[in-house]
């Protein structure tokens, strides 16, 4: 798929803060990654780990209260800041679809109106007929039957899966180079999820767009991504190829995520969520942010701010854990949580 590796997106030191009444929320800290044409980049992490915020920042869709620093370049053009080029690229070269298809479409306009709008804002001179034709094609591409008559339907006449397809059609109608899909399947039931993922893959095959796929679900990632960012507490804590993440895990948090995946269990058959809860983004724990929940935590973790993102073996595999080599050396890193989990049970 990624035959030509033209660099599309280059994100460096992306940091987003929200000043609130309770203090400054550090929603994302110092995120860097690159994306090439044809790539599928998976982003995983628990709820609140800053997955959406980091991608909304790239799209320039954060509320005006957000303070964004760092850089995000699309084909060399800076996207961030008041002079950023994101305005003209949004919806055209960069497209995004969201988690909840039930609310992502405007209830008072027909799907056709909203689809045509996406096309028209970037193609002012396009004749009406062509706009309609391309709208029909777009619906057809995502597998909506009777696309012509469906253009006149209102969103509430569509099922959830169909709405998400319509969203994908809307995002892809201008042939974007990058599609950011923010948990496109979370709100849908399982069979529909698979269909939507399949639709995404098909669309990517046809257009060759790069996709950033945000999800809770490592299973989804395993299916279609080539590279993965694991996020925790607003920062990237491990990144690498799918194989790196799944078979050469080098960060306890990733191991925990893998352990909580349904289907492939280390031992036994119970789903094991990582004990504890995500850190406060206002007052971060000192040292490693995963420290309070980490079974391998040592004193050094609390003092030394790890974060020093160091490469391991291969050039693309990096981890923020200071004991990464030990984790990497483990047979099955997922087992490290077993002890914690058991003590948890005993304490109950």
């Amino acid at each position: 798929m990624s035959a030509d590796s033209e660099l599309l997106l280059e994100v460096e030191h992306l940091t987003v803060d929200f000043p609130t009444d309770d203090g400054v929320v550090h929603a994302t800290r110092d995120i860097s990654y690159t994306l090439s044409r044809g790539d599928v980049l998976g982003v995983v992490g628990e709820s609140g780990s800053g997955k959406s915020v980091s991608s909304l920042a790239v799209m320039g869709l954060l509320p005006p209260t957000a303070r964004v620093s760092g850089s995000a370049k699309f084909c060399g053009q800076e996207l961030l800041g008041s002079h950023g080029a994101v305005k003209s690229l949004r919806g055209n070269k960069l497209a995004m679809i969201f988690q909840d298809p039930m609310t992502a479409l405007n209830p008072v306009y027909t799907v056709g109106v909203q689809l045509r709008e996406a096309l028209r804002v970037h193609n002012r001179e396009m004749p009406k007929r062509e706009i309609t034709e391309r709208s029909i094609d777009a619906l057809e591409l995502v597998g909506i039957p009777n696309p012509k008559s469906r253009l006149e339907s209102f969103p509430h006449e569509f099922s959830g899966g169909m709405r998400q397809r319509a969203m994908i059609a809307m995002a892809m109608i201008n042939d974007p180079d990058i599609l950011i899909a923010d948990e496109p399947t979370t709100a849908l039931d399982v069979t529909v999820q698979a269909q939507i993922l399949e639709t995404l893959e098909r669309v990517q095959d046809r257009t060759g767009a790069a996709i950033i796929l945000i999800t809770h679900d490592l299973g989804v990632i395993a299916g279609i991504a080539q590279r993965v960012l694991v996020m925790y507490g607003g920062a990237v804590v491990e990144s690498g190829s799918v194989d790196d993440i799944f078979y050469r895990t080098s960060m306890p948090y990733t191991a925990g995520l893998l352990g909580s995946m349904p289907g492939i269990h280390a031992h036994g058959s119970r789903l094991r969520p990582i004990p504890g809860s995500p850190p406060s983004l206002i007052r971060m724990p000192p040292g490693c942010s995963f420290g309070p929940r980490c079974p391998m935590v040592t004193d050094a973790c609390r003092v030394d701010a790890p974060g020093k993102f160091s490469l391991l073996g291969s050039e693309t595999h990096a981890s923020a854990c200071i004991r990464r080599d030990e984790v990497l050396a483990m047979d099955d890193a997922r087992t490290m949580f077993a002890a914690t989990y058991d003590t948890e049970v005993v304490r109950d």
Binding site: A104, P107, V108, F154
Partner: protein, 388 residues
Amino acid sequence: MLRLIIRRMLVAIPMLLVCSVLVFVLVANAGDPLEALRGRPNSQQAIAQRTATLHLNKPIFERYWLWFSKMLHGDFGIDNKGLRIGPQLWRAMGTTLQIVLLSTILAVCLGIAVGVISAVRQYSFFDYSATFVSFLFYAMPVFWFAVLLKVFGAIEFNNWLENPGIGTVGFLLIGLLGAGFTSMLFGFKRTVSKRRRLIAGIAGFAGTVLVCLLVDRFLADRTYFRWIGTVNTTDPRFAHQGFWPRLGDHLGHLLLPVTTLAVISYAGYSRFTRASMLETLSADYVRTARAKGVSERAVIFKHAFRTALIPIVTVVALDFGAIFGGAIITETVFSIQGMGKLFREALQKDIDPNKAMAYLIVTAINVVVFNLIADIIYAKLDPRIRHE
């Protein structure tokens, strides 16, 4: 659409029937129509006569039936003075409807405009001042405001019209308003820099002051008619003049009562519009529109505003009863011969049941009709209802 209207009517008509029964019982028990007569000497004959016309010696449901069957033919009976109520009622209703409609339109337009700007520029100076003004209006007793308006808005303004001119303070104030307006107009988008806004403001100030100077020169040595009326809806001096002077006079008289009524509902509408806009502005589909690359202006008006309008219609509809209630007070302060006046006449020492009933039932019908219109608008705005 027609189906919807018919369905709503099918609900409204029985509701009006029940309403008329309840109101009839209410009025019948609210007082004795003969109270004042009884105290008067030699009133036997008058008492007998009124008892006969009001069927006071018949049981209440028979009385209701007599009233109701006449009312269906548009006959509201006669009042305690022996005059037919019908003609009085229609004249009064015309006047009141004018005031109510004009003030509703004014309040809705102003409230929505201010609410939208407040929401788009949340926590700006405009937002804070508009919010404060709304709260202030919301806290004012209707007639207190009406009396103030009468003194400052009419009497002082009329005095000014007799000897017009713009003082230094006037120049400053109007100039500042102009500055605020232009800088807001140019600075509507968030991205416009502070400096550009400031320049727009200064230009606006200069422009407005210039216009004011011209107007001031024009006004000097002139004197105008005391245009704003505080009593009634017309001035007899205009009775034999042409259409335009009569219209002008009429508007001069409607200005204050309409403003009074509008200001009270304006406060509610602008607050509600702001809240509704804030909600839609942070809705997912607005984010979708932005992600598509739609311009900020189109995002605000085509996506956020269009959807925010839907609940506003409901609020306006719920408010009609209150506006008619407010009209009772406004009409009294400005001595207008409307429905409110009629109603107050009905509540003298001798309650005038026919008149009170006429007011209550006609007002209820008006409110129901307005609500029906609001329902239709609502369905037009919201496809989810339309397709139901």
